[in-house]
């Protein structure tokens, strides 16, 4: 590799050709403040916070986009640079809704942190603020333009990572606002509710629709039997909000925490993930053996589902008809569980804790009430749960280990790995293999489909049948796979698509990392590895071995794809337009 040597603050630094000055400084442990920078996603030199002096240059240069050159002399910390950064930051603050203590991002705000670090003590240039716009029509995402600093990290994520591109700068100059086209609401455009924009936002301009009040109310209602399910990815992320390391495993703290909040029963979405495998695995075999529509594409990820409905409606028939584990859980809870426990299903209130904002939308879909009621009443994100726990004074890190409740709290490692990209595929393969061959699978770890590579492909020998599988996470990767399917270039039998990068561990409802931390830590990988560790620690690691699932079929559903299964566990999809129809 060609190397380039430059001097930063008198220090010689050698970096590969094509690196930026910011990267070179990072390598030399010289900290340059940034705001719009999001490594690999948003490197556009817009916010002017990372400016540096370069010998021979007329104006200050944005280091995040400035390529290094041999012999370049850079000063990151001159009075002119510091003053410029301060003025820029004061200007941003002068146009920012400074309601910090009541902001959802209080103490986790990059603007706030930067103000502290740069020693901003007053704003020399106060003035008019841009027009506030507040969009809370979406069931998943709230946009508060009064806090937006126009860094465009959300725009780049939406366009580049997710290939959705429903938000962009509108208008110009002081009136510029990041919004859907024509200032429409997110609810009106082809937004998939993934919440990756929230994950990218350095401030409180984007946040999840807060549904905690509904849960507090239900918990306080003595008439209600309030039960909760927690998604696989929560057990490797909730701890982060309580000072545990990134990806810390808190599986056994979860039941303790949720019981202390007042839930009547604490269940696990891993259970219904196992159930999903039973249905989806059977569906796959049926399509494979009976000439059904292939490739079969997984349907666990509600962001992906809505994406398919908007952008690839011609592939809707390829989607598995299985509901997501969240919705299967709700449907079973208000039928099977209600019957078993003798509880009036109208009194059952199902809360789900999800790493996901799209789950809020999914729970509200009109077709998701096959139990006769809304199957899942409220879907909370990891962040909302963390806020509730903090409000209740419950510190997850200090709780004893406890177990999930029976019967909907029993799960296998296969259910757990739903939380990472490739996990659904792997779980399905574990079951499909044994069902088809009737033999025990000795090496159950399909490492070919693991990891943060955007698209993973493998050919698996299932009892003599070669099954071509593909796994994509992040919708721009999904686009590539789908385009290859459409063009006939690829011959897949089974595809797993997860909307969010890294799968659910990287979901839009998860704890938010700063740009700086994201640069140093691949949170998708760290949390993903934790998920596989959870799997390894489980006694049972194949969905069809889940005794509670077996009992469910025996007592209630009959067999996979039975009529009852179809009624409760399967769904249908709707083509959706790209723009509101007028």
């Amino acid at each position: 590799m060609d190397m380039v040597t430059l001097t930063i603050d008198g220090q010689k630094v050698e970096v590969p050709k094509g690196s930026t000055v910011l990267e070179a400084a990072h390598k030399a442990n010289i900290k340059i403040p940034t705001l719009c920078f999001l490594k690999g996603i948003n490197e556009i030199g817009a916010c002017r916070m990372c400016v540096v002096e370069v010998k021979g240059a007329r104006a200050l240069q944005a280091s995040c986009v400035l390529p290094v050159s041999e012999g370049m002399e850079v000063i990151t910390n001159s009075p002119a640079v510091r003053e410029s950064r301060k003025v820029t930051l004061e200007l941003l603050l002068s146009d920012h809704n400074l309601e910090c203590p009541t902001c959802v991002r209080n103490l986790n705000c990059e603007l706030q942190k930067l103000s502290e670090e740069l020693g901003i003590k007053s704003i020399r240039y106060p003035g008019e603020k841009h027009a506030p716009r507040y969009d809370d029509f979406s069931p998943s995402i709230v946009r508060d333009a009064s806090k937006c600093i126009l860094c465009r990290r959300c725009v780049s994520v939406c366009h580049k990572v997710q290939g959705v591109g429903v938000i962009s700068p509108n208008h110009r100059g002081f009136n510029t606002v990041i919004a859907p086209v024509f200032d429409l609401s997110l609810a009106e455009v082809a937004c998939v509710n993934c919440g990756q924009c929230i994950m990218a936002c350095p401030v409180g301009a984007l946040k999840e629709k807060d549904d905690t009040d509904k849960v507090w109310q239900a918990l306080a209602d003595p008439e209600k039997h309030v039960i909760v399910q927690t998604a696989p990815a929560i057990r490797v992320s909730l701890g982060e909000e309580f000072g545990e390391g990134r990806g810390a495993i808190v599986t056994k703290k979860l039941p303790a925490a949720l019981r202390r909040l007042g839930f009547d029963k604490v269940f696990d979405t891993d259970f219904s993930a196992d159930l999903t495998i039973m249905e989806e695995g059977t569906e796959f075999l049926e399509r494979l053996q009976n000439g059904g529509k292939l490739p079969l594409i997984t349907s666990c990820s509600p962001g992906w589902i809505k994406f398919c409905e908007h952008y690839y409606p011609e592939l809707l028939e390829n989607l598995s008809t299985c509901k997501s584990p969240q919705q299967m859980f709700g449907a079973i809870a208000k039928t099977y569980y209600a019957q078993k426990m003798g509880i009036d299903p109208s009194k059952i209130f199902v809360v789900s804790i999800m790493p996901c904002t799209a789950k809020k939308f999914e729970a509200q879909r009109p077709e998701m009430n096959s139990s006769g009621y809304q199957d899942v009443d409220v879907a909370l994100t990891t962040r909302e749960l963390s806020r509730m726990l903090k409000e209740a004074g419950i510190d997850v890190s200090k709780l004893p280990d406890e177990e999930f409740d029976d019967p909907l709290g029993i799960s296998t490692g296969a259910g757990a790995i739903f939380g990472a990209t490739g996990g659904v595929m792997e779980a399905a393969l574990r079951t499909v293999y044994e069902v088809v061959t009737g033999k025990e699978l000795t090496n159950i770890e399909f490492t070919q489909v693991r990891g943060v590579e955007g698209i993973k492909e493998a050919t698996i020998d299932v009892g003599g049948t070669k099954v071509n599988v593909a796994v994509a996470h992040g919708l721009s990767n999904a686009r590539k796979v789908l385009d290859r399917v459409k063009s006939g270039e690829a011959n897949y039998h089974f595809i797993e698509i997860m909307c969010c990068p890294g799968g659910c561990v990287g979901g839009g409802g998860q704890p938010i990392l700063s740009s700086e931390e994201r640069w140093d830590t691949d949170y998708r990988e760290v949390r993903g590895n934790a998920i596989y560790e959870v799997d390894r620690s489980m006694k049972l690691r194949k969905s069809h071995e889940n005794p509670a699932v077996q009992t469910l079929y025996k007592e209630f559903l009959g067999k996979p794809l039975s009529e009852k299964s179809h009624h409760l566990l399967h769904t249908h999809y709707t083509k959706r337009p790209l723009y509101p129809e007028v």
Binding site: I44, G45, A46, C47, R48, V51, A59, L60, Q61, A62, V65, L66, P67, A80, E83, S84, V87, T88, L91, L92, S94, D95, R124, Y125, G127, E128, I149, L150, S168, P169, H171, R172, G173, F174, N175, T176
Partner: protein, 597 residues
């Protein structure tokens, strides 16, 4: 070929078209037909002659008689007198402002005498919609020379040696730009013409496109040959319909004659040109924003490097030059770099076109050799300041430029001198201000423009210019505070250093230059709550001077709010509550009895 004894040249540029040259042209054609002169006199539509304010302009050759403000009803007289009887129609001739003399020939007019027209060489002379007329004036000869006698590197060397610098604003050496693009690796390269003329009042690019579109096409082809490109794009604003139409005609005519497209002039060189219409955002004149817009994205600048010469249109090596820059290329190739370099000054070669406006007698387009002084442009070419008012400042370089005071009038016009004076060449806007102009108000005017045209991408420009404008607004409203000037200076300095693109980096110039030269005016506004020029409404009021008022009542009649009252033949009074400071009474009073205070 038919020979005519006289040619009637009717200006059909945007200015003259707006003042009715279409009718004038038709009237000439009808009248000449009626008189049976069709085989003797030819009526030709041309591009801009420069003195737009006096349009519709008509030039009759062989005498070179320059008729101004010609109306359709004047035509029978012109035809009868001038074209039949050979007697010049004196009353319609151009009149010098200073001497009041009616001049018989274009070449006698001060406005033209000091000019040297290279970029505008064909404007007002040929019919821009007829390619033969361009060819007859050495058109496409430079292209032929380049394709048959020169290697690409020789073309670049010639442009380098000429010393030509970009006429769009930055003044970057054109030859170097071409060299970078020629050196850049890649099979696909592009040539782009920046015709997104956005400075308020500047219209030289429009005039070239309307009056001599082939000169730009020819130059782009030469550039394409020099850097190894096969495609060119002209980014022109949709608000220039005549320019767009003439470009379309020119492109089609050039294609038909094998001067554009495949195998040009049988040499095997392929090059084609396409139009892209912009919607008029000022920032799209910035090259990276322009490229984004051509590609169909939001017109926003991006940081450089990479420069377009390496990564431009669709990521390919691209040169972007402005219209006027291109218009200089064919003469440089034909007459040689030495000829071009002999015009102008050491570091600024050739000529520059200025759009002169504001408080000046001859408003219009002038092309002068670099190094001409501001005084020569304003007084000798421009005819001085109207109504005997005193010159205060001249603003050059459009909204990104600065204001130059009277003390620097003898400064030669060059890229570097203008920058030293706190202004810039820019695209060549030149707005003259007299004693009635408040310099704080002027700074506010330009900042309002840039603030409005900011793309909104970087905070220094998006918020910083807004804050500067707010401070200027409070100063002109009489609410200025001690320390506001320093606040402005500090903010301006910071924005200049940290804004992402040229628009933001230069936006504070009008403020900085007016503070530099007219600080006393700022201080009068802030400390004394007084506008010395009497322009800031919030700081003036109108009074009747009782000793001068004769009580004639004229002011009462013109006052739109009924704020003036008084007995006949008695001194009147103005009700300050009702007065909206419209200045009507001041203008109307025959005795000078109204005073602004």
């Amino acid at each position: 070929m038919e020979i005519y004894r006289a040619h009637v040249l009717v200006c059909k540029g945007t200015g003259c078209t707006a003042s009715g040259s279409e009718n004038v042209m038709e009237a000439f054609q009808k009248e000449i037909e009626k008189r049976g002169l069709s085989k003797e006199v030819r009526v030709v539509q041309t591009g801009c002659l420069g003195l737009c304010e006096l349009g519709p302009n008509v030039l009759i050759y062989p005498e070179g008689s320059y008729y101004c403000r010609v109306k359709a009803e004047d035509i029978p007289e012109i035809v009868e007198e001038h074209l039949v009887k050979g007697r010049i129609v004196e009353r319609l001739l151009y009149k010098e402002h200073l001497t009041e003399e009616r001049l018989r020939s274009l070449t006698d007019i001060d406005f033209y005498k000091k000019q040297k027209r290279i970029a505008l060489r064909n404007c007002g002379l040929i019919n821009p919609e007829v390619i033969e007329e361009y060819i007859a004036n050495d058109g496409y000869k430079a292209l032929a020379k380049v394709l048959t006698q020169m290697k690409p590197q020789e073309v670049i060397d010639e442009v380098k040696k000429s010393g030509l610098r970009g006429r769009g604003g930055g003044g970057f050496p054109t030859g170097n730009k071409w060299q970078f693009a020629a050196n850049a690796k890649g099979d696909i390269k592009y040539v782009v013409c920046n015709a997104d003329e956005g400075d308020p009042g500047a219209f030289m690019d429009r005039s070239v496109l309307e009056g001599d579109p082939h000169s730009v096409l020819e130059a782009m082809e030469i550039a394409g040959y020099a850097i190894g490109a096969q495609e060119g794009y002209i980014y022109v604003r949709a608000e220039y319909p005549i320019a767009v139409k003439r470009l379309e005609i020119a492109i089609n005519q050039a294609r038909e004659r094998g001067l554009l497209g495949k195998n040009i002039l049988g040499t095997g060189f392929n090059f084609d040109i396409f139009l892209r219409l912009g919607s008029g955002a000022f920032v799209c004149g910035e090259e990276t924003a322009l490229l984004a817009s051509v590609e169909g994205r939001r017109g926003e600048p991006r940081p450089r490097p990479p420069f377009p010469a390496n990564e431009g249109l669709w990521g390919k090596p691209t040169i972007i030059n402005n219209v006027e820059t291109y218009a200089n290329i064919p003469p440089i190739i034909l007459n040689g770099s030495d000829w071009f370099a002999s015009i102008g000054t050491e570091r600024s070669k050739g000529t520059k076109v200025f759009a002169v406006g504001g408080k000046i007698n001859n408003t219009g387009l002038v092309e002068i050799p670099m190094g001409t002084t501001l005084r020569e442009v304003i007084y000798e070419i421009g005819g001085g300041i109207p109504n005997g008012k005193k010159f205060k400042a001249v603003q050059t370089g459009g909204p990104s430029g600065g204001c130059i005071p009277a003390s620097l009038l003898d400064m030669p016009i060059e890229y570097d001198t203008l920058v030293q004076a706190g202004s810039m060449m820019g695209s060549g806007g030149m707005i003259v201000m007299d004693e009635d102009n408040c310099m704080v108000d002027i700074a506010k005017f330009f900042l309002t423009f840039t603030q409005d045209e900011s793309c909104g991408k970087c905070p220094p420009c998006r918020i910083g210019t807004k804050r500067m404008l707010e401070i200027l607004e409070r100063i002109t409203n009489g609410e200025g505070k001690e320390g506001d000037i320093e606040l402005l200076e500090n903010l301006a300095k910071s924005i200049k250093a940290s804004a992402l693109c040229g628009l933001g980096q230069t936006a504070p110039n009008p403020v900085l230059s007016t503070i530099r030269y007219f600080r006393d005016e700022y201080e009068a506004h802030i400390k004394e709550k007084r506008c010395p020029a009497g322009a800031c409404k919030a700081l003036i009021h109108y009074e009747v001077m009782a000793d001068k008022c004769r009580g004639c009542g004229l002011c009462v009649k013109v006052c739109p709010t009924g704020a003036i009252s008084g007995e006949r033949k008695q001194p009147h009074v103005i009700d300050q509550e009702k007065c909206i400071k419209c200045n009507s009474c001041f203008d109307r009073c025959p005795f000078g009895a109204i005073k602004k205070a």
